[in-house]
Symmetry: C2
Subunit: 195 residues, 2 copies
């Protein structure tokens, strides 16, 4: 790397990979002082439209002691493709799970790289999920409803040796919320109101 490649972000040591590392470390220190600030509740609202087509809205959440809202509401349709008797108005629900995993590992990777002073230039990934629909179709009691297995394939470039780049992924995996949700068990309670 020549000096002319040096970006403005690199000149300011607190910004790296688009991560404000000063803010990141300040947040860590603040939570160390007040651990209850880290109690968050995230939420998704959903409205059925027709058939397998429904619409989710993500807007409000609770964190750092108070009710909060995102800068704007995020709205996402979900559906089944025609081959699964839907209208393909959005991805299937299980595809959103794959997206969540890639997004979580990637966000963590960028934060960890910034903290370790590694400058990333490219991070791409593809998550694949193998599923046997004999499960959800109720045709084979031996087949689970969900994915049999997921595989994440990362391509990563940055100003560090391959081994160090791989260690970033390992640490991201070790601290990923979505990886934990998928690879371990989360209890789910379902309540039904029929007004």
């Amino acid at each position: 790397m020549t000096t002319t490649d040096t970006s403005a972000a690199e000149l300011d040591d607190s910004m790296r990979n688009g991560v404000d590392t000063a803010a990141l470390f300040a947040t860590l220190d603040a939570v160390k002082q007040a651990p209850q600030a880290a109690s968050f509740q995230f939420r998704a609202h959903n409205q059925w439209l027709s058939g397998t087509h429904n619409r989710g809205t993500i807007a409000d959440f609770f964190g750092v002691g108070e009710e909060r809202t995102h800068e704007r509401s995020f709205v996402f349709d979900a559906d089944h493709p025609a081959v699964l008797v839907g209208q393909d108005q959005g991805p299937t629900p299980v595809e959103f799970v794959l997206h969540a995993l890639a997004a979580c590992l990637t966000a963590g990777l960028a934060n960890i790289a910034a903290a370790r002073k590694v400058r990333l230039t490219e991070v791409r990934s593809t998550v694949t999920g193998d599923i046997d629909l004999n499960g959800i179709l109720g045709l084979d009691p031996e087949v689970r409803n969900g994915y049999q297995q997921l595989t994440v394939r990362f391509t990563i470039k940055g100003d560090a040796p391959a081994e160090k780049l791989r260690e970033l992924v390992e640490q991201s995996q070790a601290r990923s919320a979505v990886y934990d949700i998928i690879t371990n068990q989360v209890p789910v309670t379902i309540e039904v109101d029929t007004p």
Copy 2:
């Protein structure tokens, strides 16, 4: 319900709740004859943009013996809100998991209602997920990275007694791919290429 409320869809017994039940049952029969048709692979592609901001694309999948693509590519940004040192360019990855669960249970509910000849008029839900970020922040080894618990609250209206509407949710839960993924364990393999 008076006769003037009778919709065209109800007059055609194969369409109910926007579900083509004839196609649904035909699909079930086809998979019974050729169980390998139910082997699907779903995929999500992700590109890191800056900091915790990254972009997922859902387009291609494999199913019923061949490579397929959705009617269009679906693109979703993910990010962290400012309070979590991001730019709030999209929901957090963990919020996409909540959306996936609501979408999966709702799609299944509509299919099951159609199969059971229940006409739904409204299905709304909110999924909440409680998470202690001391886990992902690495500040407390006793705290898991993912959600402690999820709660799904449905409001359902339709032309069936409350008990029958509740049974639709129970069956949807029993056949939900995302519910299984979250409440049970899915193995995840991560590969890293550093070209």
